[in-house]
């Protein structure tokens, strides 16, 4: 966070106690009303020029939060300001200042060329007509689509569509950008280029809020991260700070076959154990135990695994992923 932003007291994005509830009805004969609280009191602040990451599993409330920030959704309660403007009252002014990239297969006119799609949106965003061609040329260059613009979008690969989404978001050169899972479904090479572009944009002074569930992406790109789980922020800070939160923790990795749930529960009950999670890979299971003084625990853990075939047991340093898992599975 730049000192300038702190002293000025200006934030590009301010969210205070955001809540968003969905009301749905189920059933056809006896309609019941269900209320789902997707976002339950989220607060965050993003300074100008910061690259902020919002991390969380599916259904945590990332998508809802970002859509409120983009003026697509009205909050149920709370205060949300972008560039000092209220997203509810001043939606149109906010829209002038933000760009967003939601990605996916849809969201573009398939029957038009990439160029036509951009021309149309250049008009919607009010770019001066004389500058259209030059500006469109610039963004195409930036995203690596130069030369392909006259092709129809229906023939584009997923990666190319993503680039076109990016180009559209950058057209009017907004100071604030929102990226919702920008590299999902994109091939590794393309994804790396997208990340590079995000980093370049941040270096150029743009304020960026990015949602992702790729840990390494958040780690490498973001100045600060917030972890959202079940509609609430469970942690916030720099990647280093989040990793430090688990610094006195060691991770014991156990590769085994046929581990049953009661065994995991008894592991959790052990003194000094913070969390126990299990992943299944093909036939084998990978049990991850986060604990303090793990070296003292390995004996007890092996005792609990009596009768189970243990392939490998080892200890290692925690990663940001472990911190994330610990935060997200708590409660």
């Amino acid at each position: 966070m730049s000192t300038a932003a702190v002293t000025r007291g200006e934030f590009a994005i301010e969210v205070e106690d955001l809540r968003r509830t969905y009301r749905t009805t189920t059933g056809t004969l006896r309609r019941r009303r269900l209320e789902v609280e997707a976002v339950r009191g989220v607060s965050l602040h993003v300074a100008r020029g910061e690259l902020f990451g919002l991390l969380g599993p599916n259904g945590a409330g990332k998508t809802t939060t970002i859509r409120v920030l983009c003026t697509l959704l009205l909050p149920t309660s709370g205060r949300v300001m972008v560039q000092g403007l209220d997203v509810v009252q001043s939606a149109r002014e906010v829209r002038r200042q933000i760009g967003y990239v939601f990605g996916g297969d849809r969201g573009l006119y398939d029957r038009l060329s990439a160029l036509d799609n951009l021309r149309y949106f250049a008009e919607l965003y009010g770019l001066e007509p004389r500058r259209h061609r030059a500006r469109i040329g610039e963004v195409l260059e930036q995203v690596g689509l130069a030369g392909r613009e006259r092709e129809r979008v229906e023939g584009f690969s997923r990666g190319m569509r993503q680039r076109l989404h990016l180009a559209r978001g950058l057209l009017h050169d907004p100071p604030v950008l929102f990226f919702d899972e920008p590299t999902i479904g994109v091939d590794p090479v393309g994804a790396r280029e997208v990340r590079q572009l995000v980093a370049d944009l941040s270096r150029a002074g743009k304020t960026i809020l990015l949602t992702t569930h790729y840990m390494f992406e958040a780690d490498s790109l973001c100045n600060r991260i917030a972890v959202i789980s079940k509609g609430q922020i469970v942690a916030e800070g720099t990647p280093q700070a989040l990793k430090a939160a688990v610094s006195d923790v060691t991770v014991v990795e156990i590769e085994a076959y046929g581990v049953a749930d009661p065994v995991l529960d008894s592991m959790r009950a052990l003194d000094g154990v913070d969390s126990v999670t299990m992943e299944t890979r093909d036939q084998a299971q990978l049990v991850l135990v986060q604990a303090r003084e793990a070296s003292l625990l390995t004996g007890r853990l092996l005792q609990l695994l009596e009768g189970v075939r243990v392939e490998r047991i080892g200890t290692r340093e925690p990663t940001l992923e472990d911190a994330y898992v610990a935060l997200v599975t708590a409660g």
């Binding site: 009205l74 002038r96 398939d110 029957r111 021309r119 919607l124 001066e128 030059a134 500006r135 610039e138």
Partner: protein
């Protein structure tokens, strides 16, 4: 200073006409390539034109054959509007375009208007096709009494129908069951607005309904311009209807936006 920020953003009064025209253009470009649209705007009107003109030849010929060619052309524009505009919001949502369009810093109604006007313009295919058909297949003498007035009438008719399409599109989204009505909107409107039948032949109680529907005035203006008469009064009524549709459309779209933002219906969740 980057080129983007140096590109001044035009103020609203100057921008809105541009946004409308550009949206109109691109929508027309897309619709003109759609097979379904071509079927609706070409094949169907030609079949009805053939039926009407064949009957004219077989009957007492009290009305000229051009009367029926014109009527069938407008029938085509109406079909295009019912099917292209009725589901406009659902179709945009299906393409994932609602979010990008709502996020643009222009009034959403302006964006939708461009779409419905573009769709209505595809109906001009019908107009041209039925007249050509009359000339080629039925050897009709297609001579327009007042060509300029005719063109003007065609433009005004298309605009009025595009705006009516805006009203339909937004109300179909607000009142969900109204969607199935679109299946039965062709014949009744064709009939009531007197496209192939002079209004004098229809029961008097249907006339008020005819007067609020733009095709009634549009077809009368076109007939007057083509066959000789006074197109201006009818054009005036058509424009008045258009203004009413515009006002209603603006209000309805405002309600659609509010509902979409509060109920999160901009995307398939």
């Amino acid at each position: 200073m980057s080129a983007g920020r140096a590109a001044a953003q035009l103020g609203p009064p100057l921008r809105w006409p541009r946004v409308l025209v550009v949206g109109w253009f691109y929508q027309l470009k897309m619709q003109a390539q759609s097979g379904f649209m071509i079927m609706t705007a070409l094949v169907q009107p030609l079949i009805f034109a053939t039926i009407a003109m064949a009957d004219q030849q077989a009957g007492n010929r009290s009305l000229p054959i051009l009367f029926y060619a014109l009527g069938a052309g407008i029938m085509g524009i109406w079909s295009t509007v019912v099917f292209g505009c009725g589901g406009v919001i659902s179709w945009q949502r299906h393409q994932g375009m609602l979010e990008p369009l709502v996020m643009a810093p222009v009034p959403f109604v302006l964006v939708l208007m461009g779409i419905t006007l573009g769709t209505a313009t595809v109906g001009l295919y019908s107009m041209g096709a039925t007249l050509l058909w009359a000339a080629v297949v039925f050897r009709a003498h297609v001579q327009l009494a007042d060509p300029l007035a005719f063109i003007l009438a065609a433009v005004v008719t298309v605009v009025s129908l595009g705006l009516l399409g805006l009203v339909m599109g937004s109300s179909f989204v607000l009142y969900r069951n109204s969607n199935s009505i679109s299946n039965m909107l062709e014949y009744p409107v064709w009939l009531v607005t007197g496209l192939l039948v002079p209004l004098s032949l229809l029961p008097g109680w249907t006339h008020p309904l005819a007067y609020v529907l733009a095709p009634t005035w549009g077809v009368q203006a076109l007939r007057a311009a083509a066959l000789g008469g006074q197109p201006l009064p009818d054009l005036g009524w058509c424009l008045l209807a258009s203004l009413a549709y515009l006002a209603l459309g603006v209000w309805l779209v405002g309600r659609v936006e509010v509902r979409a933002r509060s109920a999160a219906t901009l995307t398939f969740q």
